[in-house]
């Protein structure tokens, strides 16, 4: 998710149950294969299923990530505390 989200950054997220998700939101999700990941919402289908993508061109592809159920989205990221520059 570089350069927007940096390695070792802390993020604060609000539970999915307490917020509406929309395209462009950064979310923390529980992926069946990749486990807990942070990605951006690329699309939401009429059933509320979510397609994720990484900001970085080297990210795992959308095809590999697939569509996630709403229940697999943990929360929407609302704040990032970036590491201090060395």
């Amino acid at each position: 998710m570089a350069p927007h989200f940096l390695p070792d950054a802390f993020v604060i997220s609000i539970s999915r149950r307490l917020t509406r998700l929309k395209v462009g939101d950064v979310v923390v999700a529980n992926h069946p294969r990749y486990k807990r990941i942070i990605k951006r919402i690329a699309a939401i289908d009429p059933q509320g299923r979510v397609q994720l993508s990484g900001d970085n061109p080297a990210s795992t592809s959308q095809e590999k990530l697939g569509w996630l159920l709403p229940s697999q989205i943990i929360g929407r990221v609302i704040y990032q505390i970036k590491p201090t520059q060395p």
Binding site: F10, K35, G54, N56, P57, T60
Partner: protein, 170 residues
Amino acid sequence: MMHSLLTQMDKFLSFERADAHCDIPCKIYDPCTAQVAALSIIRLMDLIAELDQKDSLTLADQAQLARLVREKEIHAAKVKEEVRVIWGDYFKQPQFDQFPNANELVHSIMLAGSASKQHINREQGEKLLALVNEFAAMFWTTKGITTFTANCPYPPEMPVVYPQLAPVPA
């Protein structure tokens, strides 16, 4: 300061971790994987040429040929992928300012990679290696690291650009 505080808190609260899951950890870039793949292509072409010396190919030879061609295909794709990732992720404006011909070089690597897939003649493989070496030299120079060229100590024993790294004191 906030980050330092959270880092300390993390040690005993163990905040949950989320992976952004890039293909490789950010900041690890090394053209050696592309160089080794290019060397492999030349080696595979040499092995194919050895089969070409035979009057006729047994079934076992044909099976071997199929494997050699397949591996050549895979390694040419690997050269293109490894170079693409460094060019796409590592190269930013400062690197393009330093090397205005970088895009042209990367494109020529893509073309040479395809040619190495389509053909079995060694010249295509040698051309690809030369371009990948030029890319490697460019990459290390952008990091302020000088390079030297040496023959790799294994077949096909071709010139390879290596970074001149400072040894760690024993």
